[in-house]
Symmetry: D2
Subunit: 361 residues, 4 copies
């Protein structure tokens, strides 16, 4: 399995770490409130010293969460989910001086890719992306059978015929284990399935359909009439498109609501916290994520995505996160918000999808 | 009051309109579901014929809503708020042929400005904006005393010292009657009030504060400890910044949640529908709105913003909507989503704010 | 040959045109200076009335040029090429009132595409581009044997391995009859041929080559040592890349200089007027042009590109102009500068090239 | 004079430098060709060892030039200006090992600002710019009397009334010692002076002037008729605008031609090498440069701009270079091309100019 970078754990026999104190906890002062000196997690592997030279590695970690340590059970949760009295790990040093060690050089290859990243931070549309594509194809072929691939889709993927059917094909071929999106992606996709338009514009001919601006609202109203997306897909026997493919293939999807939503469609989770909780379920098991043309959803999912996974046999493997967008600003913003492992590809998602279908389907 | 464009109502004695049938309604088939042929509103003045040549003008309208007609009472509501059996106006023609008339040429000056708009659709960063600024100053001076000014703020406004204090000044001087924003704006603003940083970076010197990445999480945790933003502002006697100014001046603000939120702060409305409802309260009375560096909130608010208001004396006046952003894509997207009256200014919101303070404070 | 839109000439028997006066000329007052009322050409078909109901159609036209009429010989030239005394067509009306008729509705399909264009003006990265690609493939297959295809390349095409070899393949397969570019494209391409880098970065692995920032200057210096690009390509037997492919296939290329140039390479035309003259030679015969990731060269070439060509048998056919860029601003700027027939595709040129190779090579 | 960062020269008594060999030269093998191992300059201070522990500091340096050493006279010239036999410094190490030392830590404050720069490389429109403005005001006030300020203007500065008159005011107040621009800036500025339009659009009202698209060509033709810009400005007594202000104040300007030019105006230097030579004259003496909304001219001038100046008394002082643009891509490209000292401000140049007038005029 040489496709994935190997992981070198820290050497806890080194003097600094050998001398590390036992990590401290303090009780959460109230529901949803952390003790003042709480330790916030990153998406790198982090270890805490529980005594006698024994260190626990956080599992299913994420950025900006807190560590709750009960006995030898260490859980990584969002601060808002704390209950009063929960024992929260405290300390802001991460070199062992407070019993916490952040290990950001575990993936040899990731060290190299961090080097690349510091380059990519200054990267741009003019960066050569051939290798990024080739590597992604290789990773996806591996992950289809041995990993967990999550797609985070912006609405633009559904606006173009070829792009939309490429996504459908990838779902059908097993390259998508879960899908994160918003009301707009699902609505546009179902509008295309019903009327072959996106916001009234034919997704192939580019022509505005007369009266087509109603299509968007009609498809929402119609779906509400059926009671659920699944019901409508089945009763109308919709075959084409992203959401119908998910339904047919049993691929779970989370539709997170936003204040920009029309409708929304039945099944869209209006409450942001509930939506985050639903997304986090999939983030916990993700091994490769791909965020396409959505700053909101990509940053949201990126924040809850660990940089590594601990497999059943204890092996630590990297988590890959590809971000595809047209603007350096969007991609850099994601990196600036801490999703350090993000690999950017600057292009139109339409072409990105067509490339993937051509190489994977 | 020549500052505002005068409104010319339609001439209902013209043959086509004189011959118009009475508008039809159909009952909503279920809660939140509209009859199939429902009429969707625009943000232009729309009239319905209730018989005998009497036409009702929709009030507090918005895009993509439905008309509920009970007797002579006409209400514009989001489809999701329909109750089963509600009498919903149906018909998709809007030239009177179904008793519905959309009047998109009522504001003579707005006709000219629509002409300008069709130009501005192709406008860009190279469009001359001097007149847009001058006109905006004139409008804001008028609206401070005779209108209702709503600001829709992206987080970038709080990242820079001068920009943030300019916004504070405009609030203090009465130029802001309500504020729409997200968790990030409020968090960054309070972080600046507490630590003089935004995401750990000094908002004046640009230097990263050592360990400053905790500031963001600390300010959220701290506020949660106080129980509410107001409580913290008062107890810590925070004076500087946008949110403290709102608190001090009694300016209402809506903080709408999103899946990207850390925390969130107490008071952030996590449920998108509830947040939309809260925002709509202010949209109903807005006479001028200004959206800054936020695609999500600007499109959301733009969608629920009428293009006109009916004053107490029956006068119809225009509603202004300025949108400030760095990218043509963002601004065009807003226009493409139907907010036709949007006046774009392409620039960095930092400079925009400084300009406004210089001319208004 | 239904691939190309058919052309409907104007009906000169219509009253307005039948009554048109004979066109007037005035002598150029000095070398390079036009008479005050000179008529400036567009890139649409334009006719002038020379008497007796006989109208001449301008050939090999372009934007912003003047018409020199000697007897029945009508030539379209840049004002700077006027000689004192040249008889220049005058008149600014273009509906026949001064003997000049601009025919902007000759291509039925182009009318539709103008409609589409007015849509595309508001178009964006979210416009569905599948049909634009399919249409382009169809056109290029036709033009390879029956037209004249000119590529206008920005340097980014040479920065990526797959993109660069795709361009090479299209040249080898006959899809490029002439190439317009600048010093940078040629330098980067030759740097890749010599060192496999672009500005020192490996065009596949993305790694910076140690000391690689010298590669750029070295390849220029080396070529200067050989005396010409051709000489170096031959002596070093360079096979890979865009410029070597042009040399091998006998495809002419114009390298236009700019103040940003290092070197420049031998063969780069430093004088802007001479470079324009050299480019115009190819613009006069272009039937399809493709501009990639270069605002400077695309606008320059677009300005000198006619919207139509008159074939030997008198048939009038459209000229196609595709523009590929990442930013709406660049593409709109081209349209705003008058290249109305430009079909934008918003994406990274790397993916664009890979798409073309996949479908055409 | 604490406004400018102090310079700490290298310590040539340090072992590595004390042991440095004497620098080597090789003769240029042909006109315009450098010896294979030529040393290319950066824009940092570079010293060469001429023996006996004596080191010469390059003066009026620039990026990507070569060093010609005749006796103790060291000249920095573009490779294309080499004459066969010129003694060119060779060697690619820059730590003394070949008698060449690049000193990139001389400006203490610039070290800090380099730190900031590495931050700014990842900077964006959301970076707080208040301090950048304040610092720029301070620098310009100093440089007006004690430095040499060069402006590099893109055409957008002339498209807006307030922006254009702000630039005029800065010229009149002595804040501009030389101006670099292209044909477009001058043409748009003169069009505004003659017709109050830019490409036919009123620079204040935004309205398209009927037939206004001729204004652009007319102003070029008219100027050509007068024989020179100066002649036209004088005879028509043009008072408003950027170019008239330069003429009135005796501020030299270089108009560099490009293949995109219409006309061009008389005085535009069509040959890129001659234009570079003309620009370099001013680059050699620049102490602060400001590049506005022009990638082409900013990169060109940035490449020829030294990072420091040696004053008459031998003092070494920094050269400042501010770059104002709307897009991260443009600004990063400048940095990636090596103009390391560039301070970016991401905004619309219209607002930038208005800010400067407000604070300096």
């Amino acid at each position: 399995m040489t496709i994935l970078s190997a992981y070198s754990p820290p050497d806890f026999t080194l003097p600094d770490l050998a001398a590390a104190p036992i990590v401290r906890v303090e009780p959460a002062p109230a529901d949803g409130v952390a003790p003042a000196a709480f330790h916030a997690t990153s998406n790198h592997p982090e270890y805490i010293h529980i005594g006698g030279g024994r260190w626990l590695l956080a599992r299913e970690s994420r950025m900006d969460a807190v560590m709750v340590l009960k006995g030898e059970s260490l859980e990584i949760i969002e601060p808002r989910r704390l209950k009063r009295g929960d024992p929260v790990v405290v300390g802001r040093g991460d070199n062992g001086e407070e019993g916490i060690y952040l290990h950001n050089s575990g993936f040899r290859q990731q060290v190299r890719s961090e080097e690349k990243f510091s380059f990519r931070m200054h990267g741009s549309r003019e960066t050569p992306f051939s290798i990024s594509y080739d590597r992604l194809y290789e990773i996806l072929r591996h992950e289809r059978d041995h990993g967990y691939i999550v797609w985070v889709l912006g609405p633009a993927v559904a606006f173009d015929k070829d792009s939309r059917s490429a996504m459908q094909c990838l779902i059908e071929q097993g390259y998508c284990h879960a899908l994160m999106a918003g009301n707009a992606l699902a609505t546009h996709d179902l509008e295309a399935a019903r009327f072959r338009t996106g916001l009234g514009q034919d997704i192939y001919t580019q022509l505005m359909q007369p009266g087509g601006h109603y299509n968007h609202l009609d498809v929402i109203n119609e779906t509400l009439g059926y009671g659920s997306i699944r019901q409508m897909v089945q009763e109308l026997d919709l075959k084409e498109g992203i959401i119908p493919a998910c339904e047919r293939m049993g691929v779970p999807y989370v539709l997170a609501g936003s204040i920009r939503d029309d409708g929304p469609l039945p099944g869209v989770i209006s409450d942001a916290r509930q939506a985050q909780d639903a997304m986090r379920i999939y983030a916990r098991r993700t091994t490769t994520a791909i965020g396409l043309a959505t700053q909101l959803h990509s940053i949201a999912f990126g924040n809850m995505l660990p940089g590594y996974q601990v497999l059943d046999d204890g092996t630590v493997r990297p988590v890959y996160f590809y971000v595809v967008d047209m603007s350096e600003f969007s991609v850099d913003k994601l990196a600036n918000r801490g999703s350090v492992q993000a690999v950017p590809i600057l292009t139109n998602v339409q072409d990105f999808m067509v490339n993937l279908r051509h190489n994977l389907c």
